[in-house]
């Protein structure tokens, strides 16, 4: 007897898996879930990414860390290998968090490519998939491409010139070539244009799935930052995208700012695209679970925030606090700081009590009920929030868009400020609407939402110019070399892929 064909029992081979109609939705949902979960067993186990701790490999956790920790918005106390280096802008190409984000981005791209390879019309035909599924497939494929575009944008924003590969390169093929930042940017823009009509109408997709407004939002955000990537400014397109979203009427600002960050924020009217978590069904040590727990410590009572366990990690620097008229939130309700027992100054990075705590994300609902689970939170993450559309519109106009106007920009900004002040007290005039004001207002409105590094770079203040506590590894802060505007390509991939050239300075 020489029979050596033994089939797996816990997993499915592709033939078996694709023999049912729901397989395509499961696969596509996995790509959405790739922004939230870290593997196929919650909260950890059967990891997607294997070269580091699974909890660290969360897309959202690392994206957030790379976007926030090196800025004036956040510091973190822990001594995990390479983590203090993020705060002080002294990372190397061996940094495990940089590596985590890098591989997570390309994991997403690989998943999308595989999906597109498996969801071709020919394969659907050959498998005898039902009419209903066949009908869904153009939208499914467009959504997958949207997610790929999103990740490629993160890739060029964080890493500059990156490996570039699409569904045309099969698994196990030769190492991908390195494409320039601008080339990938143009690819993303072309993709977004192509999928726009295929996506669901704004506000009509099932919660959690991307629709046409998400495409517009991505177009707007990319358009705003395109000059950083070497493209010719095209701010009119940014305004067009903003107008599309505003005019769709599918989104509205929430009455209370803070309700966007609580356990029942899945009902927020402001979310254009969210990453969803659930205390029971979507458990991970990354994502909002991290953002809620890590921000608690000192004299904070964890139960007040709907969780058990203060991880004693994240705080902010005085620079963010000083952007607000006062630190209590009584004037501007967006100032969500916990100050009891905390010093405003950050004398030591690894003392939780140094720097104000920021309980912006919480696992309690808007009516004060704790989330389902005390460890894993229900709070969703607003990847794209309508309030930002107001800010992007204003900035694009200030930067020279001709198809928008300052008056509309001021109105849009004042809508945000009226909500924040609960009155007209915070309103600004057209004269006060400057680019510097926009940068500060973005911090006030969008702090801890993963935008700050990109914003500072766009305004030329991430490395040169800007000074805040512990930047450059000194307590008072100092300027850093501009090569740190992009992260290094991790050593691992440089060694695996001979086509890659390291970013300057690393």
């Amino acid at each position: 007897c020489t029979d050596l064909d033994v089939q797996p029992r816990n997993n499915l081979t592709p033939d078996v898996f694709f023999s049912t109609d729901d397989s395509y939705e499961r696969f596509l949902t996995r790509i959405y879930a790739g922004l939230a979960v870290t593997g196929q067993a919650g909260p950890a186990g059967n990891a997607d990414i294997k070269s580091l701790d699974e909890g660290f490999s969360s897309y959202l956790r690392q994206y957030w860390q790379l976007q926030e920790l090196p800025t004036d918005e956040a510091v973190i106390a822990w001594n995990d290998d390479g983590l203090p280096d993020l705060v002080t802008q002294s990372w190397s190409s061996n940094n495990q968090f940089v590596r985590a984000m890098y591989y997570r981005v390309f994991f997403q791209v690989s998943m999308v490519n595989e999906f597109l390879r498996e969801a071709t019309d020919e394969k659907l035909d050959a498998r005898g998939v039902s009419e209903e599924v066949v009908a869904q497939m153009p939208t499914f494929r467009a959504e997958a491409r949207f997610l790929r575009a999103l990740s490629y944008w993160h890739a060029i924003d964080l890493f500059g010139n990156v490996p570039f590969f699409t569904e045309d390169q099969a698994v196990g093929a030769t190492a991908p070539r390195q494409a320039g930042r601008l080339e990938v940017l143009e690819y993303i823009q072309a993709e977004l244009k192509e999928i726009e009509p295929l996506m669901a109408e704004p506000g009509t997709a099932a919660y959690g799935r991307a629709d046409r407004a998400a495409v517009w939002m991505l177009q707007a955000k990319i358009g705003l930052n395109a000059p950083v990537y070497g493209a010719t400014p095209a701010y009119n397109e940014v305004v067009d995208a903003c107008n599309n979203i505003i005019n769709s009427g599918a989104y509205a600002l929430m009455d209370t700012y803070h309700h966007n960050f609580l356990a029942d924020n899945d009902r927020s009217s402001e979310f254009i695209f969210s990453v969803n978590f659930d205390g029971e069904a979507t458990q991970t040590f990354g994502g909002t679970t991290y953002l809620v727990h890590a921000a608690l410590g000192g004299n904070m009572t964890d139960a007040n925030y709907g969780v058990v366990g203060a991880w004693g990690g994240l705080r902010t620097t005085p620079s963010l606090v000083d952007l607000f008229p006062d630190e209590t939130g009584n004037i501007d309700e967006r100032a969500i700081f916990f100050t009891d027992g905390q010093t405003k100054a950050v004398g030591a990075i690894n003392e939780f009590t140094n720097g104000y705590a920021v309980p912006k994300y919480q696992n309690v609902t808007s009516d004060g009920t704790a989330g389902q689970d005390p460890t894993f939170v229900d709070t969703d993450y607003p990847m794209f929030r309508f309030a930002e559309v107001h800010l992007i519109y204003a900035e694009a106009v200030l930067r020279g868009a001709t198809n928008g106007d300052i008056a509309t920009a001021v109105t849009l900004i004042n809508l945000l400020r009226e909500r924040a002040y609960d009155s007209a007290a915070g309103q600004i005039t057209a004269d006060e609407l400057t680019l510097d004001f926009i940068l500060d207002e973005r911090a006030r409105e969008l702090y801890w939402e993963g935008h700050r590094r990109t914003d500072l770079i766009r305004f030329g203040q991430f490395t040169e110019k800007g000074i805040w506590a512990w930047k450059g590894n000194v307590a008072e802060g100092q300027e850093t070399p501009t090569f740190r505007n992009v992260y290094p390509i991790p050593v691992e991939d440089l060694l695996s892929n001979p086509n890659l050239v390291q970013n300057d300075g690393y």
Partner: protein, 975 residues
């Protein structure tokens, strides 16, 4: 007809009890009684031959003439026959005469075994064989060991040798049910260990031979011997050796007063030594009873054992009830030999929760806090980040493992001399069934939502591992003429492994009253299941050709097919060849006979494989997410979220193939002075190619960042020397010494995706998350420590983080101290391992000891690095953690995990055991009685600052189960 009577004695005149006395040419025989006397009746008249035989002694045949009615007295004095014992060595699928052995084969028999309270069989030969490192994982009762024969040959696949018990290759993977999968074998049933080291010896096991093979031969009944009853038993006491370097309550109070006066209010009023509260003097006992004997054509042995051993951490325990049966029978005039073995055990382990928390908790806090009813009256902070009270864990948590493992096999040999002289057919069928359960119960007063996200927990794991074997082979063994001998074997083997692992976990218990019995009453239940199968099919052959007793040539070939590889790479071919030259048999070498009693040169070359990588790794597979890794897409009509179980395609490499180790060995066996000194010297080089390893692949080329694939090359090379000598050998006093020493170096030669300054970080440590202290890098040793070079101050102490100067050397001189400044520094693998055994006998006394050691093995002191800093008392809100004494020297405020200060030389020499025994002279009814006392692990010489320099193969000292020292009082009785 007449009678023959007499007495059988050994050379010292001691009567031999139970010696067989046979009338040659008949089936008539008898056994000697307790005084060595025998009586053969009805001996036909005329010239007759009488043969006396006794195990371990040379047979003696005498010729007499019997007259009718006469009673003749015929005494026998039998000489010990060392030759007989050592004559044959087992190799895979057979055995050879020792002279014909061409591979590196080391045999350790009962008399050389380590003594002590030994649960796991492999510990019988710790320190006994050159180049075999048996590193106990920790000091838990019956804990597992890591075994490395000539270093590690693989990075991802297993490095453990293959165990073969009486011809049955074992599935040696652990299960949750017990601490060590080998524990089902009662050490007292073992006759010998044979360690096959080089490829010439192991290639017959093909794909499983790369890490060496350990063949365990168990005791058997002997045809023609009278029933013998043996009892072995001992009682043992164990306790901790050394003291953990944590502050006591007084010192801790002083430290807080000095460094953090604002926190004085958080101190308790107690003086608690958390180690005293969690450790104990442990006791144990063991009893083994065996009966063996046989008739004319059959032999049997039955044994039963009971062992119960407490661990020094309170609550930990192991208990084993074992049995073994052996029955062998010659049928068809000796042309059919059947040998059956059946053995099994129930092992029950009580697992302790560990004493990690004893290293953490503030020593001024009390053990009990009666007011704290939420935690069952134990002191607890009730903060998930704070350490838990270890006494509460020991007393409240239940963690029981139970495993039933049975293996059995029947091998048959049918001699087909009538077809072709020297031809025989052999068959072996066997099974290995391991079933068990692990149950964990944590009452609501132990785990509640103040410290975890559930209230009480029950977990039940059931597992079944089965393994069926069928071997069939043909043997042709014949002396062609005076000078040429031939031994040919060809065979087929089929082995199928199945594994099923259902787990049921219940969280949030409505009541603690059911203990672990009702996981179903939990509010939230989580069932899991894993199920695997793999199969190995093999064809193999071996030829041994011996010319004139001078030259022996062995060649083997195995073709293995494994389900773990894709159709293109499923079959692997593993050849080997070896040549031995017995110099003393040469005519010209006659002069050497005065000096040498043995002189043999050997060279061998062979290829072996490794496939221990888990199942289905070559296949494209979709993994479906579990209930806790679903994702919300939209809402149901009633407003509840819709969660979807997602599907993920896994990364895979369809082209996976066998890892291949090519080894070369050159050896010299020698004996001087009539065998008083004998030994061997070996040199080897082993290259492992197509190393199976999870490496980072170019982003975009697969479906994950790492894929298991064949990359790179690894080399082990070394020298081994074994020496055995008799120092004194008189009837009253004998003293023998045997020692072994081995040097090995393992180097990563190539990993295609890792070069230059890159590498794969390994060796996770306690402290922080995702912190790794070791690296795999081309040109480096495996798992070399990867650390900053700490700058020392004028007193030789590391510069601390309070001083205003850099702490670490800026290796790349870029002005920034970051990860790029870490460098390779030493490794956990020893350069040299050695063992020394001494056996002294004086009249009835015997004194034996085993010394063992290693040189050049380094350990990362994670206990110190994770606890030796003052932020332990200021860094966390609401509680303080105890501080490691090293902080008093370093003055570190924050942890310096990656400092080379914590990488310490852990070279050591250990007195593993020392035994003093006394054997009483045989008395009527008692053929042997020996009483002994053994000291285990009494002395360790080392410069390492932690509790014990042996911290497991990984070289990271992280509060393992401490290794005890102990005494054993035992008795052996033979009837």
């Amino acid at each position: 007809q007449g009678k023959v009577q007499g007495v059988a004695t050994d050379e010292n005149g001691e009567p031999l009890i139970g010696a067989t006395v046979l009338l040659v040419g008949s089936s008539r025989g008898t056994a000697t009684d307790f005084d060595g006397n025998y009586l053969l009746e009805n001996v036909p008249s005329g010239e007759q031959q009488i043969r006396a035989s006794y195990t371990g002694y040379a047979d003696l045949t005498k010729t007499i003439t019997v007259a009718d009615g006469e009673t003749i007295t015929l005494d026998f004095t039998l000489g010990e026959d060392v030759e007989v014992l050592d004559e044959v060595v087992v190799i895979g699928y057979g055995s050879v005469r020792k002279e014909d052995a061409t591979g590196v084969v080391a045999k350790v028999t009962t008399k050389d075994f380590n003594r002590g309270a030994i649960v796991s069989p492999e510990q019988l030969i710790t320190g006994k064989v050159a180049g075999v490192q048996i590193a106990p994982g920790d000091g838990s009762p019956g804990g597992g060991s890591a075994i490395r024969i000539r270093g590690a040959t693989s990075l991802n696949a297993s490095n453990e040798p293959l165990f073969v018990v009486d011809g049955m290759p074992l599935d040696n993977e652990g299960t949750a049910g017990g601490r060590n999968p080998l524990n089902f074998i009662n050490p007292s049933d073992i006759e010998s260990f044979t360690v096959l080291k080089d490829a010439s010896a192991t290639a017959i096991y093909g794909s499983r031979g790369a890490n060496g093979v350990i063949i365990i031969t168990t005791k058997k009944g002997e045809a023609g011997s009278r029933p013998r009853v043996n009892y072995d038993g001992y009682y043992t006491v164990n306790e901790l050796r050394g003291e953990p370097a944590m502050l006591d309550a007084g010192a801790f109070r002083d430290l807080v007063t000095f460094h953090a006066p604002s926190r004085l209010s958080q101190l308790g009023n107690a003086n608690t030594n958390w180690f005293d509260e969690t450790l104990r003097t442990a006791q144990g006992q063991s009893h083994n009873l065996s009966v063996s004997g046989g008739g004319q054509d059959y032999g049997y042995r039955i044994s039963a054992g009971f062992q119960e051993l407490e661990g020094i951490i309170r609550s930990s325990e192991t208990e084993r009830i074992s049995y073994a049966l052996n029955y062998n029978h010659k049928l068809l005039d000796g042309n059919l030999l059947i040998n059956t073995n059946l053995r099994g055990a129930r092992t029950q382990d009580v697992f302790d929760p560990g004493i990690g928390a004893a290293w953490e908790l503030d020593p001024t806090q009390p053990v009990l806090d009666p007011a704290n009813t939420a935690f069952g009256g134990y002191f607890e902070y009730g903060n998930p980040l704070a350490p838990r009270n270890p006494v509460s864990a020991i007393e409240q948590r239940q963690d029981l493992g139970q495993s039933f493992r049975n293996i059995g096999n029947m091998d048959m040999e049918l001699k087909l001399d009538n077809l072709l002289e020297g031809l025989s057919l052999k068959g072996n069928v066997g099974f290995d069934i391991n079933q068990g359960e692990r149950t964990t119960f944590e009452p609501t007063t132990f785990v509640n939502t103040q410290v975890a996200n559930y209230n009480g927990r029950v977990r039940v794991e059931n597992f079944t591992r089965t393994n069926y074997l069928m071997d069939a082979y043909l043997k042709y063994q014949r002396s062609l003429n005076e000078r040429n001998r031939l031994d040919l074997t060809v065979g087929y083997s089929y082995q199928d492994f199945n594994e099923e692992y259902p787990i049921f976990e219940g969280q949030n218990l409505p009541t603690d009253q059911f203990g672990a019995n009702r996981p179903d009453i939990a509010e939230d239940v989580f069932p899991f299941n894993t199920s695997f199968e793999n199969r190995l099919i093999s064809f193999w052959g071996r030829a041994i050709y011996s010319f004139d007793d001078r030259y022996v040539l062995t060649a083997t070939l195995r073709r293995d097919g494994s389900t773990r590889f894709g159709p293109e790479n499923r079959w692997g071919l593993f050849p080997s060849a070896a040549l031995a030259w017995r110099v003393l048999e040469e005519n010209w070498a006659e002069g050497l006979n005065d000096l040498f009693s043995d002189l043999k040169f050997r060279v061998s070359y062979g290829v072996t494989g490794n496939q221990e990588i888990g199942d289905y790794r070559y296949l494209s597979q979709y993994a479906i997410s579990d209930q806790r890794a679903r994702y919300q897409i939209g809402y149901n009509a009633d407003g509840t979220p819709i969660f979807i179980n997602t599907a993920r395609p896994d990364a895979y490499d369809a082209g996976l193939k066998w890892e291949e180790t090519t080894s070369f060995n050159a050896g010299l066996e020698f004996g001087f002075g009539n065998g008083r000194i004998s030994g061997s010297l070996e040199y080897y080089v082993q290259n492992t190619n197509d190393l199976l390893f999870d490496v980072n692949v170019a982003a975009g080329t697969n479906l994950s960042d790492r894929v298991l694939t064949n990359v790179g090359e690894l080399q082990n090379s070394g020298v081994e020397l074994s020496l055995t000598g008799t120092v004194v050998n008189t009837p009253e006093l004998s003293w023998s010494l045997s020692g072994n020493i081995a040097y090995n170096r393992t180097e990563v030669l190539e990993i295609s995706n890792i070069a230059g300054s890159g590498g794969i970080l390994r060796g996770g440590i306690s402290g922080g998350v995702g912190n790794n202290i070791q690296i795999l890098r081309v040109g480096g040793e495996i798992d070399a420590f990867y650390v900053y070079e700490h700058i020392l101050d004028e007193n030789g102490n590391p510069v601390n983080d309070v001083a205003d100067q850099p702490m670490y050397v800026d290796q790349n001189e870029d002005g920034v101290i970051n990860e790029a400044d870490r460098r390779l520094y030493q490794s956990p693998a020893p350069d040299i391992i050695y063992g020394l055994t001494s056996n002294l006998q004086f009249k009835g006394f015997d004194l034996a000891m085993t010394l063992r050691g290693a040189v050049g093995n380094y350990v990362y002191n994670n206990n110190a690095s994770n606890r030796g800093f003052y932020n332990r008392i200021t860094g966390l809100p609401g509680f303080m953690n105890n501080v490691h004494e090293s902080a008093l020297v370093t003055g570190f405020r924050n942890p310096q995990y990656f400092s080379d200060y914590y990488v310490e030389d852990a070279s050591f020499m250990r007195l593993d055991n020392i035994t003093l025994g006394y054997t009483f002279l045989p008395k009527r009814g008692v053929s042997s009685l020996r009483l002994y006392v053994t000291g285990q692990n009494l002395l360790v010489f080392t410069r390492y600052s932690g509790l014990d320099p042996e911290v497991g193969i990984g070289g990271i000292d992280n509060a393992p189960y401490p290794r005890p020292m102990g005494f054993i009082f035992g008795a052996s009785l033979g009837l």
